[in-house]
C-alpha cells in the first residue's frame, strides 16, 4: 500500500491543479474576448514566468523585460491555445522559447561588443573630452545662479546633489511641498533662461 501523501503536499498539489484549471478556463474566456478574465490570467502567470526566466539564467535587470516579452507573445499566439489541453505546458513552451531567444540575442550582442575602458579615452579628464559640454555647463551654472534663492536652494539639493525630498526638507527647514513647488518653478525658469525665450 502506498504511503498517504502528507496533507501539506497534497494541499499544494491541489492548489497547483486548481491554478492550472483556472488558467485554462481564463484563457478560453479570453479567447472569446473577456477582458477581465484576460487581465486576471496575465497577472496570474507573471510570477510563474518570472521564476522560469530566473531559472533559465536571465540577469536580474532583464527579467522584467523577458516577462513582458512572454506576455506579448502569449497575446500574439493566443488563438493557438486549445482549451481541451492543459495551459501550463503551452505557456511554459512559449516562455522557454522567448527567454532562450533573448539570452541568445544577448550573448550574440555581447560577443560583438568591446567594453569601453579608461585606456580607450584620449584624455581621461572629463572637461578635456568635450568643449561643448564645458560651455553648456557654464551656461547652466550662470542660469542657476540667476534663480531666486529659494528656487536655487531647491534645485541644488534635489537635482544637483540628488538629496531625497525628505532629507532636503529636514536640512532646509522647509516643507516638502514648498520644495516641490520651488523645484517646479526653478525648472520652468531655467528652461526659459536657457532657451532664450
Amino acid at each position: 500500500m502506498e504511503p498517504a501523501e502528507p496533507p501539506a503536499a497534497s494541499q499544494a498539489h491541489t492548489l497547483a491543479e486548481r491554478a492550472a484549471d483556472d488558467w485554462s478556463s481564463l484563457m478560453a474566456r479570453a479567447q472569446d474576448g473577456d477582458r477581465r478574465a484576460y487581465a486576471a490570467l496575465l497577472k496570474g502567470v507573471v510570477p510563474y514566468v518570472r521564476a522560469l526566466a530566473r531559472r533559465l539564467g536571465c540577469e536580474t535587470d532583464e527579467i522584467e523585460d523577458a516577462v513582458q516579452d512572454v506576455l506579448l507573445t502569449v497575446h500574439t499566439v493566443r488563438h493557438t491555445y486549445d482549451p481541451a489541453r492543459p495551459f501550463a505546458p503551452w505557456l511554459a513552451a512559449i516562455a522557454r522559447h522567448r527567454v532562450i531567444d533573448r539570452q541568445r540575442r544577448r550573448f550574440r550582442r555581447l560577443s560583438r561588443e568591446t567594453p569601453f575602458l579608461a585606456e580607450h579615452e584620449t584624455i581621461s579628464a572629463d572637461p578635456s573630452n568635450s568643449h561643448e559640454d564645458a560651455s553648456e555647463r557654464r551656461r547652466l551654472n550662470a542660469a542657476i545662479a540667476a534663480l531666486p534663492a529659494n528656487q536655487r536652494q531647491a534645485i541644488e539639493m534635489l537635482k544637483l546633489r540628488e538629496v531625497s525630498l525628505k532629507a532636503a526638507a529636514a536640512m532646509s527647514g522647509r516643507s516638502e511641498t514648498a520644495l516641490k513647488v520651488s523645484t517646479h518653478r526653478a525648472i520652468k525658469r531655467l528652461r526659459t533662461l536657457l532657451s532664450g525665450t
Binding site: 496575465l42 500574439t76 499566439v77 493557438t80 522559447h97
Partner: protein
C-alpha cells in the same frame, strides 16, 4: 504603475475575440485532401504515363510512389504539429522512415538500371515537361500550406517550413511518378531529386521568413 502591470492593462483593454485553430490533425487532413485532389487533377489533365499498367505490377515502383505519398502526408502532419508551441519536437521524426524509403528508391533505381541515354533521345523536352508537372503541383500546394501554417504563428519557423516543404515535395513527386516515364539515368535522377532539394531549400528560406513574420521570432 510598473511597466508589466501597464502592459497587462494595455493588452487586456484592447483585447479582441479570436478564432481558435482547429486541431493540427484536422488541418493537416484538409491540406492532404486538397493536395491529393491536385495530384489527381494533374494526372487527369496531363494523362498517366504510358507504361502505367506495367508499372503497377512493379513492386519497386509501387514502393517508391507510396513512399513519396506517405512522406508528403507524414511531413505535413509533422509541420502542423511542430508549428504549435507545446507540441513535442519528436513530431519532426514522423516522416523519417518514409523519407528513407523514398530516397532509397531514387538511388537504387538509378544504380540498378543505369542506362546510357541514346543519342537524339528527347531528354530536354522530357525534362522541361517533368519540371512543368513538378511546378504545377508545387506552386499551389506550397502557397496554400504556407497560408495555413502562418495561422499557427510558429515558434520554430525553420523546422516548420522545412517539414512543410518536404510535404509539398512528396506530393509533387507523386504527381511526377504518375505522369512521367522516368528513365534511370543520372540526368533523370537529377530531374527527380534536384527539384525536391530546391523545394526544400526555397521553402526553408522563404517559408521561414514568412512564417517568422507571422509569428513572434
Amino acid at each position: 504603475m510598473p511597466a508589466t502591470d501597464e502592459l497587462i492593462a494595455k493588452l487586456s483593454d484592447g483585447l479582441l475575440p479570436v478564432r481558435r485553430l482547429h486541431p493540427p490533425a484536422v488541418r493537416a487532413a484538409v491540406w492532404v485532401l486538397l493536395a491529393t485532389a491536385v495530384v489527381v487533377l494533374l494526372a487527369a489533365g496531363r494523362g498517366l504515363r504510358g507504361d502505367i499498367a506495367a508499372m503497377l505490377g512493379e513492386p519497386s515502383y509501387l514502393v517508391q510512389i507510396a513512399a513519396a505519398y506517405l512522406t508528403g502526408i507524414a511531413a505535413t502532419v509533422a509541420a502542423f504539429e511542430v508549428s504549435l508551441p507545446h507540441h513535442a519536437r519528436a513530431w519532426s521524426l514522423l516522416p523519417a522512415p518514409f523519407l528513407a524509403l523514398w530516397l532509397s528508391g531514387f538511388v537504387f533505381g538509378c544504380l540498378g538500371h543505369w542506362i546510357a541515354i541514346p543519342f537524339g533521345a528527347p531528354v530536354v523536352a522530357d525534362s522541361v515537361s517533368c519540371l512543368a508537372t513538378i511546378l504545377a503541383a508545387t506552386v499551389p500546394l506550397a502557397l496554400v500550406l504556407w497560408i495555413m501554417l502562418r495561422r499557427s504563428s510558429p515558434l520554430r519557423p525553420t523546422r516548420t517550413a522545412l517539414l512543410g516543404s518536404l510535404g509539398v515535395a512528396g506530393f509533387a513527386d507523386t504527381a511526377h511518378l504518375l505522369i512521367h516515364q522516368v528513365e534511370a539515368s543520372s540526368l533523370v535522377l537529377a530531374i527527380n531529386i534536384v527539384p525536391v532539394l530546391v523545394i526544400l531549400a526555397v521553402g526553408a528560406l522563404l517559408g521561414r521568413r514568412g512564417l517568422a513574420t507571422a509569428g513572434i521570432t
